[in-house]
Symmetry: C2
Subunit: 278 residues, 2 copies
């Protein structure tokens, strides 16, 4: 017998991975959560039937969520991660020596628990002394803080289920206020092949609040379409103005100084999605 | 009943697309050929069970096979396409006004026939007066020509079946000799997630023959892993030295002047595959 895990990325397009074991499969208060072993991608975390991260390709998403932002901010000390309970974003944040405090606000305690149990190569930094893990609502945490963070990273699921509020203009306004005067943020903003309207909305909403808005891409083979976008909003620092010669992140497998600016160079059909007045 | 077309991109990873009609399914002298209608990607050409091109995403592969090369050569007049019987590469070649003659050498007459019949938006340029279609062996054509072309584009299938000879050092040497003194070529060189060894071999072999060798990437959602590579070998002109302000290709949907240099900025794990001495 062969077991295959299938995700219908759209109603008419699916990816399937042959699986050797199911380690977790449960309904949490917020979503369905599964951990499976796959032959192609190693161990995999699945939320509401959607691939969240795999051992083999997780480095792309986690590095590209973090390093463009933390290489753009000249001295990030206090960093907030909303979501990201698997710990991969936190691991990458801690590569930046200027970071003194990394706060993680994950709504689902089960994501934290199973990641630390089954995905140690991803969750490995969650017990670092600089990390403060809060099991709670990221939207509320943002609303309760002002002028508190240098960088905020929104590592959410898709805008269904628990993450709906994280794709609203009110959330981006809250982020603006929770950031210091020269703060910046990044949110994952899905893919341009299947979710063009979402990218149009997010880029328009972020550009209406932040003086600087830039969309960038990374290639993530287990995510829908494989081409992922991230939206950066910044008060002062422009990611396009970074001198690549001064980027000094060690230990990455995808991000590199030469890739920093390349990530912001969009395929034409993606550039055409970005709000004109942005 | 639902019909899904599935390609096992590796023994343990597959993509599936829901299909509404099968227009062709035949064994040619060279390979199995099918044309199917899919809901997600429109009409699709499948060779030996592998997705070759779809109406919705074909522009990425065809533009990125052509425009980096034809924007690097300052005055491409004579262009050879090896393979590419669907006509998409030829269509993009003809966007460059300097081109006087575009020769297509496709081994499988059925690919030409079904593409013109079922994929007119891709094959539309095959009857242009500048195009010379030869139904024959690309390897032999290369061996019979010297100092004849400014640019050669190798739009082959995977290195199984009819395309095996197109991934050999002898073929690259033949290309070198078929090119003029300042000629250059591009070959598709598969993906870095599943075919790392192939990329190591191709980049090493091309770098051993051509003074300039550069690998670049494009994102193609229906190809294995979604991240595709192309290898350029050049006698004189360096794609990294192109002034993007002088690029003037019209009508593209993926390639853009700002993307020219970004395509050559490789993710670190891809850069690490490229031969060190290259």
């Amino acid at each position: 017998m062969e077991l295959w895990v299938t995700e219908r990325q759209t109603p008419t397009h699916a990816i399937s991975m042959r699986s050797t074991a199911t380690l977790e499969s449960m309904q949490t208060p917020y979503q369905h959560l599964a951990v499976v072993d796959t032959e192609q991608w190693g161990r995999m975390l699945v939320l509401d039937g959607m691939v969240m991260t795999t051992e083999r390709d997780e480095f792309v998403y986690h590095e590209m969520m973090v390093h463009p932002a933390l290489s753009t901010h000249p001295h990030p000390r206090d960093v907030l991660v909303v979501g990201g309970g698997d710990g991969g974003v936190i691991r990458e944040v801690l590569r930046h020596r200027s970071v003194q405090r990394a706060v993680l606000v994950e709504i689902d305690a089960e994501v934290l628990r199973v990641s630390q149990k089954h995905l140690p190569s991803i969750a490995c930094a969650l017990d670092d002394a600089r990390v403060h893990v809060i099991c709670g609502d990221g939207y509320a945490h943002i609303a309760e803080h002002r002028d508190a963070y240098d960088v905020i990273l929104v590592d959410s699921t898709e805008p269904v289920g628990p993450a709906v509020s994280l794709f609203t203009k009110g959330f981006y306004q809250g982020i603006f206020e929770a950031l210091r005067d020269d703060g910046l943020f990044v949110a994952q903003s899905d893919n341009p092949w299947f979710k063009a309207d979402l990218i149009r909305t997010v880029t328009r909403d972020v550009a209406a609040i932040f003086p600087i808005m830039q969309l960038y891409t990374a290639h993530i083979p287990t995510y829908p379409s494989g081409l992922w976008t991230f939206t950066m909003g910044s008060k002062v620092h422009d990611p396009r103005a970074v001198d690549a010669r001064h980027i000094a992140v060690q230990g990455t497998k995808y991000y590199a100084p030469s890739l920093h600016h390349a990530a912001f160079a969009l395929p034409k059909f993606v550039a055409d999605l970005v709000a004109r007045d942005a």
